[in-house]
């Protein structure tokens, strides 16, 4: 009986044009591997080391041994007896959600804040939405933010992120009550700040993130770089068949228009006279949900395609819905980042 070096089911190789990665979707990290190792892992899956060495004419024994030593040391693989191979099935990569809408973005109107947030909260509940991001590009009073958050305090949301403009008139003490009153508020980003820093309010695991980046409108969205990669099971499985940005998302832009994403032109009616449900159920609205990276040019050859986010607004070719995100500088054909 021979021993097999077997990948853990949560460590999944993804092939790119000139190199591959192993996505460790449990420990949420990834590692580069050469395409030759990818080939060995896929074509010669569940074969013994001796068999693989022989397959390559015993000319690359040392390299193959190094490969496997790396997999074992990094705990991407374990030693499995041949008879136990069937005990370790692959991870089912299907993605399911009980919610018609899983996430939502609301851009706050610039002038008056007279949106019916209680009504919106009820509507999002009806759709089963769990995550909400509230964004404001201009100065806003904290008491107004608190008032808006209050409207969501009894909703089914599990996660709220808030993005505000940094205001030197407030100290961290002023922000803390926001967290205390809203246990579902996890992340507060303050843009246009005078420094870059992340800290947690006393005794919490919550996060306040200050960034010097100026975010002046929804047009500042759509950036892609490795710090936005999410090598986790939720993204990896969703990315198999869905768009990692737009799938089951509904947004309200700063004029109250209902859209897939606030940066888009197409709108499906205004929140003042259209229900989110009627939009979410319309066929047209869902069209982009299944446009995954396997269908996007260039991205389909990229090793990051199942951990990367996407953007269908800012594209390299405005007229081609399948073209690569414009704000990505990666070239999988040379494996280099332009910036």
């Amino acid at each position: 009986m021979e021993d097999i070096v077997k990948l853990f089911a949560c460590c999944i190789p993804v092939k790119g044009h000139i190199r591959s990665i192993i996505c460790d979707i449990q420990r949420m990290k990834y590692d580069f591997i050469p395409n030759t190792l990818y080939e060995i892992l896929i074509i010669h899956e569940n074969k013994s080391l001796a068999y693989i060495k022989e397959y390559y004419g015993n000319e690359h024994d040392e390299t193959i041994e190094q490969y496997f030593a790396f997999l074992l040391e990094s705990e991407y693989a374990f030693i499995c007896q041949e008879k136990d191979i069937t005990r370790f099935p692959k991870l089912d990569l299907s993605w399911q959600s009980p919610s018609l809408i899983t996430n939502s973005i609301i851009d706050l109107p610039e002038e008056q804040l007279n949106l019916d947030f209680h009504g919106i909260s009820k509507q999002l509940d009806e759709l089963g939405c769990n995550a909400l991001q509230i964004r404001c590009y201009k100065d806003i009073k904290l008491e107004n933010v608190a008032e808006i958050l209050k409207a969501f305090s009894r909703s089914r949301l599990r996660h709220i992120d808030v993005l505000l403009k940094f205001n030197s008139g407030y100290t961290s003490d002023d922000y803390e009550p926001l967290f205390a009153d809203n246990p579902r508020l996890f992340f507060l980003t303050l843009h246009s700040a005078n420094e870059n820093t992340i800290f947690s309010p006393q005794g919490t695991t919550l996060c306040i993130h200050l960034t010097t980046k100026k975010i002046s409108s929804a047009a500042d969205c759509g950036c892609i770089n490795p710090s936005y990669f999410s090598p986790n099971i939720a993204t990896f499985t969703e990315a198999q068949n869905h768009n990692t940005c737009l799938n089951r998302k509904i947004s309200i832009d700063s004029s109250g228009n209902i859209k897939n994403c606030p940066s888009m032109n197409e709108n499906y009616g205004n929140i003042r006279n259209t229900t989110l449900k009627s939009v979410a159920e319309s066929k047209k609205f869902k069209e982009l949900w299944n446009l995954n990276k396997d269908k996007v040019s260039v991205c389909q050859d990229c090793e990051f395609r199942y951990i990367c986010t996407d953007c269908r607004v800012f594209k390299t070719d405005d007229t081609d819905i399948y073209s690569k995100p414009a704000k990505c500088s990666y070239d999988p054909y040379t494996a280099t980042w332009a910036d």
Partner: protein, 335 residues
């Protein structure tokens, strides 16, 4: 109608099951034990010659009111607990008397729960608290063994002589709670109860011949651990590779957050699955979390069943969508 008996806080699994119930068109009412202890949520459980009735209503709970007139066909008994109000204990002060009274009061709060159960005796339960209460670790071990599952050699004793003999025989042993361990927070510090190895060193430090009743088990030379969620005949298994990591080698719950153990889907041999089905049937349980160890020599050793075990930790890493399966089961039995 599905009745969910849960608790108020940090119950993500319950919430996902509810999301699925709503999605799949089921009807449910959720009652949290915490709500029942709140002063502004009045409840009454009536058992009399004339009528039998339960009602609860109040602010801050996510249903308008529940009475036993709602036709409850199935009850999901999930992490239900009625906390006993600390404010009442303050009236007695601290010290020995308070400690004893506290013990009694928690029993009384528990008793009130049975009043609630009494109103839904004819519903189907997932699972019935009366059955769950009767399942103690040593009894389950004995039954499992009778059904042909390997179990680790186990000793419950109160004296050093027996313990020494046991250690000599098995060379490495552990101790763990006979009942379920609890988590305590005292003065802001968290304390957990874990499985711990006992060596000659620890025994040597004991000052007396006798000690508090304790359970010991031979330490199994494990290849990996298996955590299994059982639901109505279906067996969902996950392997936990903890052996590489000394921090979790004895008890995988001592999580290593930096380099977490490996959790991967697993397929048990059909013969073991069949024995687990027999066991669950014998114990009269429709669902539960089962712990098994696979030894280095390949043999499977049954450790325990926890009827109220978390299944989120199996569902997530293995992508099993168990919350959906539980929702489907509840909806199917709601008639």
């Amino acid at each position: 109608m599905i009745l969910i008996l849960s608790r108020g806080k940090s119950e993500t699994t319950t919430e996902i099951v509810i999301d699925w119930i709503m999605r799949l068109g089921g009807n449910y009412i959720r009652v949290n034990g915490d709500d029942i202890s709140e002063k502004d949520n009045p409840y009454g459980i009536n058992i009399s010659n004339e009528f039998s009735k339960f009602n609860i209503s109040g602010e801050g709970i996510d249903y308008d009111s529940l009475t036993s007139d709602n036709k409850i066909n199935v009850v999901w008994y999930r992490k239900w607990i009625i906390p006993y109000g600390a404010e009442y204990l303050k009236l007695i002060g601290d010290g020995d008397l308070a400690a004893k009274v506290q013990f009694h009061l928690s029993g009384e709060a528990n008793g009130a729960s049975y009043g609630l159960y009494s109103q839904f005796l004819n519903a189907k339960w997932l699972d019935n608290p009366l059955i769950i209460r009767s399942l103690q670790k040593p009894i389950i071990l004995k039954i499992a063994n009778e059904l042909g599952l390997n179990v680790p050699a186990t000793l419950i004793t109160n004296n050093i002589k027996e313990l020494k003999g046991f250690l000599k025989l098995h060379s490495r042993i552990v101790t763990k709670c006979i009942t379920d361990g609890i988590f305590l927070t005292v003065n802001g510090i968290d304390y957990g109860m874990y499985t711990k190895e006992i060596t000659w060193l620890e025994i040597g430090e004991l000052k007396t011949e006798y000690f508090y009743p304790s359970l010991f088990q031979e330490l199994l030379d494990k290849m990996y651990e298996l955590r299994i969620f059982y639901l109505n005949g279906k067996v969902y298994s996950m392997a936990i590779f903890s052996q590489n990591d000394p921090q979790t080698a004895i008890d995988f719950r001592k999580y290593n957050l930096r380099n977490p153990n490996r959790y991967v889907p697993y397929k048990l041999p059909e013969e073991i699955e069949q024995k687990l089905r027999l066991l669950m049937k014998k114990l009269d349980l429709k669902c539960g979390s089962i712990d098994i160890v696979r030894k280095k020599d390949g043999a499977y050793y049954f450790l325990e069943v926890n009827p109220l075990g978390q299944f989120g930790m199996v569902s997530g890493p293995c992508n099993y969508y168990l919350e959906k399966e539980v929702a489907k089961y509840l909806i199917k039995n709601d008639k």
